[in-house]
């Protein structure tokens, strides 16, 4: 660490700054041991585990249904997405097919979750760069989604609303006008973000060219989601390996070849629009019917079987690997492929040689949720 770097004037030394585990901008309890040369980052060592709740171990002692609320606590910012991945994995394992209406409701809620997560990502990016007001505007709009979640499931953040085979509640009557209004107002909101965040030259200079991640590196390090698409690789599980009923909707996958923080930001803003498109189509074609398939009260795995199911979460490829034991109502093993965890691997690489302030930018644009990374 203390590599002596003797210049011809003064001997200087690297020094270590511990960013976190309690730091305003690490988005949770991450510990970044940063080796600095002045303001330039020489190396970053990411130390995780401050939010580790041994979710995988807990899963082994809970029934399939009981584990649903725990999944929501993985990526606590995108409400319905982790439960969606989990319930679909269990359905695959137990050979249960959710009802048609439930599938649509799931898509609507999942896309709203994505919007809320991306809004918070954009907002906290602005906040980390010092633009407090822009963050408040994003949170203001996210609040509308939170209200909708409360209408549907009674909870605002950790929505345990999905069930194996369907959903727990039908959408209430006042949800439809609220959802439509949000979709209608979204372009106006995005205009405002463009005015306050995107158009701001200070912010542009802080994002452009910062934390460049090449396509090859992104692929090799298993980076997925908006971060991979911002590196110019066109991969979206919703389109390429459609789960649920995503193959029925028309949407575009925004990609950006920049690979820098700016591209990651822009891809997320564009995804807001695309998610809104999906919600609009789903609302238009929402069928009537049951909201939950008939399932036995105690779900039991029929055979010794393992399943890996992945979805496009707001952070990337969120996968659940479940090993079921025949006749048991609990999984033998459950593993979460957490996108935040794997995306964080590239942080030391893209920070190397950057300025200290770029560390904050890079964390914010990689958008990890430490609850998911630590599990």
């Amino acid at each position: 660490m203390s590599a002596e770097k003797a210049t011809h004037q003064l001997p200087t030394d690297h020094y270590i700054v511990n960013v976190g585990p309690q730091h305003p901008s690490t988005h949770g309890g991450a510990h970044l041991q940063t080796v600095l040369d002045g303001e330039i980052i020489v190396d970053t060592v990411v130390k995780l585990g401050y939010v580790h709740r041994s979710v995988e171990k807990i899963a082994e002692s809970k029934t399939f249904t009981q584990f649903i609320p725990y999944t929501a606590r993985l990526d606590y910012l995108s409400g319905c997405l982790p439960p969606l991945a989990y319930t679909q994995a269990v359905e695959k394992l137990l050979d249960i097919f959710p009802t048609e209406r439930a599938e649509y409701i799931r898509i609507i809620m999942a896309e709203f979750s994505r919007i809320s997560s991306h809004l918070l990502c954009i907002g906290s990016l602005a906040l980390d760069l010092g633009a407090t007001t822009a963050c408040i505007y994003c949170v203001r709009d996210r609040e509308q989604i939170m209200d909708m979640f409360e209408m549907v499931g009674g909870q605002r953040l950790l929505l345990s609303f999905l069930r194996v085979g369907g959903v727990s509640h039908d959408l209430p009557e006042n949800f439809y006008p609220a959802a439509r209004r949000f979709i209608k107002e979204l372009p106006k909101m995005i205009d405002e973000y463009h005015a306050v965040i995107t158009g701001n030259e200070i912010l542009q200079r802080r994002l452009k060219g910062v934390g460049r991640l090449s396509t090859e590196d992104a692929l090799a390090y298993g980076v997925t989601g908006p971060n991979l698409r911002a590196s110019g690789f066109d991969y979206d599980i919703r389109r390429d390996d459609p789960y649920g009923i995503y193959d029925r909707f028309k949407f575009e996958v925004p990609i950006d070849s920049g690979g820098d923080a700016w591209a990651r930001y822009l891809v997320r803003v564009e995804e807001l629009v695309q998610s809104a498109r999906i919600i609009e189509q789903a609302l238009d074609s929402l069928p009537e019917g049951d909201i939950c398939a008939k399932t036995p009260r105690l779900l039991k795995a029929p055979e010794n079987q393992d399943v890996y199911h992945h979805i496009e979460s707001s952070k990337g490829e969120l996968g659940f690997y479940i090993v079921g034991a025949a006749g048991k109502d609990k999984p033998h093993r459950l593993h979460v492929r957490a996108p935040s965890f794997i995306n964080l691997q590239v942080l030391p690489m893209i920070c190397r040689g950057a300025k200290f302030q770029d560390l904050i930018t890079n964390i914010a644009t990689l958008d990890p949720v430490l609850g998911e990374a630590d599990r």
């Binding site: 700054v17 760069l129 802080r206």
Partner: protein, 346 residues
């Protein structure tokens, strides 16, 4: 009405002399009284300003700001001050004790001294130095030493980083700040602040020196460590920068000094560009506060809209944009003066 304060001062001096004090002593006592007044104004100003900033930030962010204590929450700052004063004064074990303890004192001392040369009305400066502008600029740059003391004395890496940033920023922005004011000195031909204000009785310098105005405003924001230039205490990066280890009253002193500086620099801005005490209807000693508060509101507005600039961008912006611009301003002003003289001579 314009002469209230001068009359009071004269009355006090005469009263003291009638009691048998020699003129020297009477003047000295008057100076002390003025000093007390400045202190009172500073404290009052800061209390109002903190409230105002929080209120302004609230409105910008569609919140209400403080509204619990007193009408519109005016007494919030007073409650905060009481809280800070009664807090435990923590001195960490490993700090460089004397530097750590004296830094906030020096800071507030220097900040208050800035007010001595500010002309609040015609003949209403505590000491109307003939090098007032120079005095002001040199003193205001001294506050950086205090930030460095705080950062170094705290023996904390965050503090040190904040302090180093503050120093780098100060050195960089001092240059365009002073260069941009040269044009004014060239036009008015004086370094005395009251002379500069007096020269604006017909036309404010904002019209003659727009380029200098922009340069000065940006440089002053950086000097004050405010707005998009709040590097030294960038809370999202450095937690609280140079002030990380400070608690209670010592931290409050830094806060106080920061706002004191803000008022002083804004008042100087008013004196230099916005015609100082000149203005219709209101008495002259009211014009300065009114204009100062308007300028301060602009500072607030900028701070709460913009993200923080990056350190290296900040430096390059100063060296590559602001300094050339202020140099250009000097050249242009020189030509302007010559052309003006030539036109006049025709």
């Amino acid at each position: 009405m314009d002469l209230w304060f001068t009359n009071i001062a004269n009355y006090i001096v005469q009263l003291l002399m009638s009691w048998g004090f020699p003129y020297f002593w009477a003047d000295l006592i008057l100076l002390l009284i003025q000093w007390m007044c400045v202190l009172a104004i500073v404290v009052l100003d800061v209390i109002i300003l903190i409230w105002l900033e929080r209120k302004a930030a609230g409105f910008i962010q569609m919140r209400l700001g403080p509204n619990r204590l007193g009408p519109f929450g005016i007494f919030q700052t007073i409650a905060d001050a009481i809280k800070l004063m009664t807090k435990e004064d923590i001195i960490p074990n490993k700090v460089d004790k004397w530097i750590f303890l004296t830094a906030p004192l020096f800071m507030i001392f220097i900040s208050v001294m800035l007010y001595l040369v500010l002309p609040i009305g015609e003949g209403l400066a505590v000491v109307d130095l003939d090098v007032g502008l120079l005095y002001f600029l040199s003193l205001s740059s001294l506050t950086t030493i205090c930030v460095l003391m705080a950062g170094w004395g705290s023996n904390n890496k965050w503090s040190l980083m904040g302090a180093m940033r503050a120093v780098a920023q100060m050195i960089t922005y001092e240059v365009p700040l002073i260069l941009s004011l040269l044009g004014i000195v060239m036009i008015t031909g004086s370094l005395r602040l009251s002379d500069i204000v007096a020269a604006q009785s017909h036309v404010w310098l904002i019209i003659m020196q727009p380029l200098a105005l922009i340069c000065y405003f940006i440089a002053a924001t950086a000097e004050l460590n405010r707005g998009p230039f709040d590097m030294p205490e960038a809370e999202q990066e450095l937690t609280a920068g140079a002030y990380t280890e400070y608690t209670g009253m010592r931290w409050a002193l830094f806060f106080l000094a920061e706002y004191t500086n803000l008022v002083a620099v804004s008042a100087l801005f008013v004196c230099l560009f916005l015609g100082g005490w000149h203005g219709p209807f209101l008495p002259q000693w009211l014009w300065i506060p009114v204009k100062t508060y308007v300028v301060i509101c602009v500072f607030f507005w900028i701070k709460w809209t913009f993200p923080r600039i990056r350190m290296d961008h900040l430096m390059s912006f100063s060296w590559k944009v602001l300094i050339p611009l202020s140099l250009l301003n000097i050249v242009l002003t020189g030509f302007g003066i010559e052309i003006f003289a030539w036109v006049r001579g025709l």
